[in-house]
Amino acid sequence: MKLTSEKENDYFIISIEGDLDASSCINLDKIISEAVSNGEKKIMVDCSRLSYISSAGLGVFMSYLQDFEANKVSMVLFGLSEKVQNVFQILGLDQLLKIVNTKEEAKSLINA
């Protein structure tokens, strides 16, 4: 798995490429926790090249739900493949996370 993060205006964009499984999710956790402690408020996760997500990977997103609420951070996932989106749906995580199709939609959702 390849993980990159970049700052675009006040958006903090994390891009995930490949499989997000038990071993690689630690890195994602690190990036998100750093972003939160750096005071990032608008986090976007680019999942367009995310091919597989395991329960441990989902656990990372889930574990920040309360932190985000407390710190008024909004996080939006975008570009999920149908398969990955299905995993989020089965789990019910789509009810808790903001998931959209494109980067533009993500931006407008964050600013809304």
Partner: protein, 685 residues
């Protein structure tokens, strides 16, 4: 066997004594007869036979006696030759002296008495020769090769055979005789240079050997001189000076002494080097033995530092051993106290002398900067050698010497080899203990697997109107998949299937927790959505922040044929309806347990219920089934699973299960899937 050899030995001694006594008697008789009538001619062969057998038996008895010795103490051997030689020569000289002072006395100048003393002398010479001959044999054949062995056998046979020349009058100085005996002489000469034993003596022992050999030479020469002086002066029945045999043995002994002296003298200067090398080899041997016989790690440390100190004659030293994380596991100091070690290390650190992968040598530590605090210590040269194994540092050995520039390159090399050897030993110890630990963990995991197996229901036979079968397999020893059943009443049964996030041990613990929650809460006969709500509440307190559990729960009311279910983020169960002849996913709204850890969870969960009919089939499963990967990373998927149920819904639950597994594994090509995979089939009959 030993007894019989001892018996032979005694027999030979007795026989030799008997021969000698007969010889004395017969020769005395001849002399007496001759003194009465000088014209009488006696055949001399009887004397010759007796003397020959006497020689033979004396030699054989020494051959047996010395041959059975096992010691490799060569000084002891040489001492034996010398001491027997000294005794015999003393007795012999005493006789000579006695004859000399009694020369004028008529009684003692009796030829019979002279002859008796001469025979005594013969016996002494024979004992000395036999002893020396076989002792030298033992030394020559030390670490023998096959060729030396054969050469010796030939030599010995010929020497023994030469006894028969007693019967023949030979001029030992004639050209023909010398020519005929020259091969034997050459053989004896060559054999006398087999002096491997010399190499095993230390300096002191070499000097002892030289002294002893010189004395042996002196004794031999004295004997020879005596024999010849008697040969020239007296009338003798048996003349040893003309015996080829005795001369051959004398020649051999003297040759041996000569070559021995020569080799010993030449070996003297190199002996200290040889001794040192030998010492080093012994140290290495002890080091490698200490590895094999499973000594403690501490013993290897002791051996390493002691060997190193001795080998380079260092005045003091210390050894530090560290573990993988660089923490000290052992510290041994010799002749240097800990405070000095601390100060020396401080000086090294202040001078930026790091201990890398190569040895470091400081000719005079007191010449370094910041060395004021160690001005009082006596050490000057410091040799620092790291203990390494595969580039990981195991520790450091530091040796100290009082004089400046006290270590030469050769010493450093030797210590380096010691350290390498010891590093291997230490590494081996660590690998072994690691292996033991791994084995223990494996054992523990096996136990955990058995424990987890007991968390699953033993039987699925609960009601005659329900046909149930389950399949469960974990990717590692323990897993996070879970299924269970519980008969709430005679006609109401609860079924559950869950999947804990993550894998392995942590998942297994949470799976056990889930079982506890299910088994206790389901007894309350609550609705499926209430169950999820309370289960979420219970788990919220105990699950790790990033863990969750997905769960599907069903209650079957067999009396009213009503199926009620709720889904907490679990894979939607497959349902074949006979009435509609189609497959449905029971995909009602739900959220994984532990995802929201407050009461708002309730709004994310909803129950559903419907009437089932006979022939309907329900399959609960975990994502390990649909996400099982075949060749080319393709997943087994929902479609294949769904089709299987559609095609085989008429089969019994067990047959359907077999069909599913068959299809699944032929798709993946292996039964060892990367993820836990579980399913449970319920058929309403």
């Amino acid at each position: 066997m030993k007894v019989s050899i001892q018996n032979y030995y005694r027999a030979y001694i007795t026989l030799s004594l008997v021969c000698w006594l007969f010889l004395v008697f017969i020769d005395s008789y001849y002399i007496y007869a001759l003194s009465e009538d000088p014209t009488v001619a006696f055949p001399r062969y009887l004397s010759y036979v007796l003397i020959s057998f006497f020689f033979l038996f004396v030699f054989l008895s020494f051959k047996i006696n010395i041959g059975s010795r096992k010691t490799t103490n060569f000084i002891e051997y040489l001492w034996q030759v010398f001491s027997i030689g000294a005794y015999t020569i003393l007795v012999s000289l005493f006789i000579k002296f006695f004859l000399y002072i009694t020369d004028e006395t008529p009684f003692f100048s009796n030829p019979i008495l002279t002859n008796l003393f001469y025979h005594l002398n013969i016996a002494l010479v024979a004992i000395f020769l036999a002893n020396a001959f076989y002792v030298f044999k033992k030394m020559i054949l030390y670490q023998k090769s096959k060729r030396t062995d054969i050469a010796w056998d030939i030599f010995e046979i010929f020497v023994i055979l030469s006894i028969i020349t007693n019967f023949i009058e030979v001029d030992v100085f004639s050209a023909t005789f010398l020519l005929a005996s020259s091969p034997l002489l050459i053989l004896g000469f060559l054999l006398s240079f087999n002096l491997k034993w010399v190499a095993f003596l230390n300096y002191k022992q070499k000097w002892q050997s030289i002294l002893l050999i010189l004395l042996i030479t002196l004794i031999s020469s004295t004997f020879l001189e005596q024999i010849y002086s008697q040969h020239l002066n007296d009338l003798l029945v048996i003349n040893l000076a003309e015996s080829t045999f005795t001369l051959a043995v004398f020649a051999f002994i003297l040759l041996n002494c000569f070559s021995g002296l020569l080799v010993l003298f030449f070996n003297l200067p190199t002996s200290s080097v040889f001794e040192q090398k030998f010492g080093e080899i012994m140290m290495f041997q002890r080091l490698s033995q200490s590895m094999q016989i499973g000594n403690k790690e501490d013993e290897v440390y002791e051996l390493l530092i002691n060997s190193s100190l001795n080998t380079v004659v260092a005045d003091a030293g210390w050894l530090e051993v560290v573990d993988e994380k660089g923490n000290f596991t052992a510290f041994i100091n010799k002749q240097v106290n800990e405070i000095d070690v601390f100060e020396i290390k401080k000086v090294l650190r202040k001078n930026n002398i790091s201990i890398g992968n190569d040895p470091n040598y400081i000719k005079n530590i007191k010449a370094l900067k910041h060395s004021e605090r160690i001005a009082d210590i006596s050490y000057k040269s410091v040799l620092i050698i790291p203990l390494l194994s595969h580039n990981t540092k195991l520790g450091t050995l530091v040796l100290l010497k009082n004089m400046g520039d006290g270590f030469d390159k050769e010493m450093v090399d030797i210590i380096y080899s010691f350290v390498t050897q010891a590093s291997i030993a230490i590494k081996n110890f660590r690998l072994i203990s690691e292996a033991v630990e791994n084995e223990r963990i494996k054992e523990e995991m096996k136990i955990a697997k058995d424990v987890q197996k007991n968390l699953l229901p033993e039987t699925l036979i609960v009601h005659p109107r329900l046909e149930m079968t389950a399949f469960y397999k974990t990717a590692t020893e323990v897993g996070g998949d879970y299924y269970d059943i519980y008969p709430i009443s005679d006609n109401k049964i609860a079924i559950v299937m869950g999947d804990v996030s993550g894998k392995g041990t942590s998942a297994a613990f949470n799976m056990a927790q889930m079982k506890g929650i299910f088994q206790s809460m389901i007894q309350l006969n609550i609705s499926t959505d209430d169950f999820m709500f309370y289960a979420n509440k219970a788990l919220s307190r105990s699950l790790e922040k990033n863990s969750f559990i997905t769960l599907a729960i069903f209650t079957i009311d067999l009396e009213n044929k009503i199926l009620e279910h709720a889904r907490a983020g679990h894979c939607p169960s497959l349902y074949y309806s006979t009435a509609e002849n189609k497959i449905a996913y029971l995909n009602n709204k739900g959220l994984g347990l532990g995802m929201i850890r407050n009461d708002s969870y309730r709004k994310h969960i909803e129950k559903e219920s419907f009437k089932y009919s006979t022939g309907d089939v329900l399959i609960l499963y975990t994502d390990g089934i649909v996400e099982a990967k075949g060749p080319g990373e393709e997943e087994f998927g929902f479609e294949k699973f769904e089709n299987l149920l559609y095609l085989h819904h008429h089969l019994s639950a067990k047959q359907l299960s077999d069909r599913i597994l068959e299809t699944l594994y032929s798709f993946t090509g292996t039964r060892d899937l990367a993820d836990d995979h579980t399913f449970l089939i319920v058929k309403f009959v």
